[in-house]
Subunit: 425 residues, 2 copies
C-alpha cells in the first residue's frame, strides 16, 4: 500500500490519479441526489458489515504507531472499534439528510431581448484533500466531496494508512455497486512526500486543495499550490470586553472560549478589555481562568488587576497558544480593540461582550474576521454549530469561502443561457 503500482514512476502515478479523478468528476456532476444518497447509505451499511476487515487494518496502524512516535492522544484518535465505526456510519447517514447543493438556481432572470439566464450551482470538480491521521476523516471527507458532486483525491497521514485504505476500499466498492465511478474516491497509495508536490502543480486538473494539519504543512501547500486552496493557518481568536459589558457574562464567555477545549482553532487566545471596566472585571475574569490553571500574559495596564500575571512580550499578541495561556491587554476604546484584532488576529473568530447596541454594531463592522460574535463564545464558529451539517474545514481567506466550509462551499456556478437564436447587434 505504501508502494506504487509496479513499473510506475511517481509523476506518472500522480498524473493517472488526477486524470481518473477528473474523468470521474464529469460523471459525478450528472448524478442526481438519490444516486449520491444511495451510495452514502450503502457505504454506511458496508462499513459496518466490513468491520472485521477494517479493524484488522486499524490494528496494523496501531501496531506501527509507536514507531512513528505518536503520542497517547494521537494513538487514541487513530484507534477504531465497533462503536467508533458506528459513529462513522452515522456521520455518513447525516450527510444523506443534508440538502444537495448541486443544480440550485442561485439566480435566474430574463433579459430584454428574451435571453433567459440562470446562474446554476455546479461542483468544483476535483478536490485534493490533505489531512491528519484520523480514519474517521477519510470517510467524512469522501462523503462531503461526493455529495457535493466532486471527485476527491485523499492524502491521509501515513500513521492511518491501513485504516484509511480499508475504508476507501469499502467506499469504492459501494460506488461501483451503486453506479458511481470508483475514481470518485481515491487514496494516494504512497507516503512519498513528493507526491503532494506533484498534485499541487496540477492546476486545471485539481480544482481545489484543502490542507488540514500543522501550520508548516499549510504554508507549504499555499506556497506551492498552483490551484486555489481553502485553508486557515491558525486561530488567534479574541474576546473584547466592552465598557458596557455585563461582567458575569464576560467571565462566562471568556471561560468557555478559552477553556471548553483548548487545542482548537476557535479557542480564545487573547483577551482585550476597555480600560473603563478593567479594574472591575479583570479580577473576576482572571479568577475564573485561574480555576482552569490558565497563565495570564498581561500588558502593563492589565497586570495590576490580575493576580499572578506574567508580563506579556510582543510575541504574545500574535500567539496561538492552543493551551493554558492567554494574553491580556487593556485598550482605551472599541476602535483600538478592533485595530489590535485586525493587526494581530487571524481573521478567524473574534467576539465582543457588550450591552450596547452601538458597540455591537460598530465592532461587527470594524473587525475583519470570518465570524464576529456578539455576546457568544468563539467556540460557536463551527459548521455543526452553524447548522451547515458536515464541514470539511474552515477558511480564514476572503475568497470563495469564508468561515466553516460545508457542501455548498465545495461548489461553483455556471451561467446557463437559453435563447431562441439571439445574436448580438
Amino acid at each position: 500500500m505504501t508502494d506504487l503500482p509496479k513499473n510506475t514512476d511517481l509523476p506518472s502515478y500522480c498524473q493517472a490519479v488526477a486524470a481518473a479523478a477528473k474523468e470521474a468528476s464529469y460523471q459525478l456532476a450528472l448524478l442526481d441526489t438519490e444516486a449520491k444518497n444511495r451510495w452514502l447509505e450503502a457505504s454506511a451499511d458496508q462499513l459496518l458489515a466490513s468491520s472485521d476487515m477494517i479493524l484488522e487494518a486499524n490494528q496494523k496502524d496501531l501496531t506501527a504507531a509507536p514507531s512513528y512516535g505518536l503520542t497517547d492522544a494521537s494513538i487514541d484518535r487513530l484507534r477504531l472499534d465497533v462503536q467508533r465505526l458506528e459513529g462513522i456510519a452515522s456521520a455518513l447517514r447525516e450527510i444523506v439528510a443534508l440538502p444537495d447543493p448541486i443544480g440550485e438556481v442561485i439566480e435566474g432572470f430574463t433579459r430584454p431581448g428574451g435571453l433567459q439566464i440562470q446562474k446554476t450551482r455546479v461542483p468544483l470538480g476535483v478536490v485534493f484533500f490533505i489531512y491528519e491521521s484520523r480514519p474517521n476523516v477519510t470517510a467524512d471527507a469522501a462523503a462531503i466531496c461526493v455529495k457535493s458532486g466532486n471527485a476527491v483525491i485523499l492524502r491521509g497521514g501515513k500513521e492511518a494508512m491501513h485504516s484509511s485504505q480499508a475504508i476507501v476500499d469499502v467506499l469504492r466498492m459501494t460506488a461501483e455497486t451503486e453506479g458511481l465511478p470508483a475514481a470518485a474516491v481515491q487514496l494516494v497509495s504512497t507516503t512519498d512526500r513528493e507526491a503532494v508536490g506533484h498534485f499541487l502543480q496540477m492546476d486545471g486538473q485539481v480544482d481545489v486543495t484543502i490542507p488540514r494539519g500543522g501550520e508548516g504543512l499549510i504554508r507549504r501547500v499555499a506556497s506551492e499550490a498552483t490551484m486555489p486552496v481553502i485553508k486557515h493557518y491558525d486561530g488567534n481568536c479574541h474576546v473584547y470586553v466592552d465598557l458596557a459589558a455585563d461582567v458575569e457574562m464576560a467571565a462566562n464567555i471568556i471561560e468557555n472560549s478559552k477553556c471548553q477545549r483548548m487545542g482548537v482553532c476557535n479557542a480564545c487566545e487573547s483577551l482585550l478589555i476597555h480600560d473603563g471596566i478593567a479594574e472591575l472585571a479583570l479580577p473576576v475574569i482572571s479568577e475564573r481562568l485561574h480555576t482552569h490553571g490558565i497563565e495570564k500574559r498581561a500588558d502593563d495596564k492589565a497586570a495590576p488587576h490580575i493576580q499572578g500575571s506574567v508580563a506579556a512580550s510582543p510575541e504574545d499578541w500574535g500567539a496561538e497558544y492552543l493551551g493554558t495561556k492567554i494574553s491580556v491587554a487593556v485598550v482605551d476604546s472599541l476602535e483600538a480593540a478592533a485595530k489590535h484584532i485586525n493587526r494581530y488576529g487571524s481573521g478567524h473568530t473574534d467576539a465582543i461582550v457588550t450591552n450596547s447596541l452601538q458597540s455591537a454594531n460598530r465592532f461587527t463592522q470594524l473587525v475583519d474576521s470570518s465570524a464576529v460574535m456578539v455576546n457568544a463564545s468563539t467556540r460557536f464558529n463551527d459548521g455543526g454549530m452553524f447548522g451547515l451539517g458536515a464541514e470539511i474545514g474552515i477558511s480564514t481567506d476572503k475568497f470563495h469561502a469564508r468561515g466553516p466550509c460545508g457542501l455548498r462551499e465545495l461548489t461553483t456556478y455556471k451561467y446557463i443561457v437559453n435563447g431562441q437564436g439571439q445574436i448580438r447587434e
Copy 2:
C-alpha cells in the same frame, strides 16, 4: 510622475501605497451607499469641469505614443476628447444607479439555543488592478471598486500614464471633498515593472489582484501572486451545431459569434458539428463565413463540405485566433463535442445550436465553462449583456467568481453572530 517620491526606494514606496490602501479600505467598509454615490456624482461633474486639464495630460500621452510604437488603433483608444470624457462621466453615473452589494444579508437564521446568525456581504478590502492603456478604464475600475467598498491600487499602462494620473487626481480630490479617504484610489506612480512584483508579494495587504492584458502578463501575475487572482487567459469559444439544429439559426449564430467583433475573448474560434448534419449545414455556414473573409481550418471530415478550407493542424483546436480564422471539426455525438470542448476550450463561453430539449440539457450539464449558451451567440457572455452593469473583468476560474465580474464579485461575506451570553456545552 514616472518618478518615485524623493528619498524613497521602490519596496518602501509599494509598501506605503498598500498600507494606505488597507487603512482606507477599513474606512470604506463603513460608508453608506449615499456617501459612495455622492462621490461618484461629484467625480462625474468634476471630470467634465476639469476637461482642460485632463485633455492637456492626454495630449502628453498622445505626443509620446509614437515613441512607444503604438498602433493607430491603440492611439485611437488612448485619445480623449470632450465627447469621450462625457462618456466616462456617464459611466460613473450608471454605477450610481447600480445596487450597493455591501450589507446584504445573504442568509440569516436562528439556531436552536437562540444564536442569530447572519451571513453578511462585505468588501474584499484592497484590489490591485493591472490594466491596459485606456484612460476610461482608470475611472471605471476606480468607480467599481469604491462602490463595492474596496480601496484600489491602479497600475495602468505607461502609455496612458498622464491621462490616468489626471483622472485619478480628480477622483482623489472629490474623495476628499465628499468625506472618503483619498487613498481609496491610488495610481502607482512609477512605470518600473518591478513594482508589480512587490505588490504581488503582499498577501494579507492586497486582497485580490485583477490583471487585464496579454496572456503573458496574466500568466506572470498568476504565477507570482501570493493572493487570489481574478483572471482569464484566453477565450477559445466553441459553437456546436447539434444534429437537431436549425441550419439558418446555426449560420446566424456562428456568423455573429465569429464576426460581430473578432478581437474579443467571447468571439467564437472553433466550430463543431454533428456528422449527421455536416453535409447539409456546413456549406451554408461556410458560405456565410466566406462573406467575412474567414479562413476555415477544417478536419478531414469537415473539409469536403467547405469550399476552400485549409487542413487543420493539431494546434488549431486550442487556438484563440482573435482574427479571421476558425477551426472546424466534425464530431459523431454531442458527448464527443462536450469532451472536445472540455479538453481544448478555455472554460469561457461555449454554445450549442439545437431544437432538441434533451440535447440542450445534456450539453449545458456536460460542458464545464463559465457560460453555456443554448441557441444564442457566444458574444452575449458579458457583464453588460447579462445586466450586471459595470464589469471589471471576466473569470474563467471556478473559484469565487466565474464569468463576468461586477460589483458583487468584488465582495466576500462575514458571519455576524448575535447571542445573549451563549456558551458551548
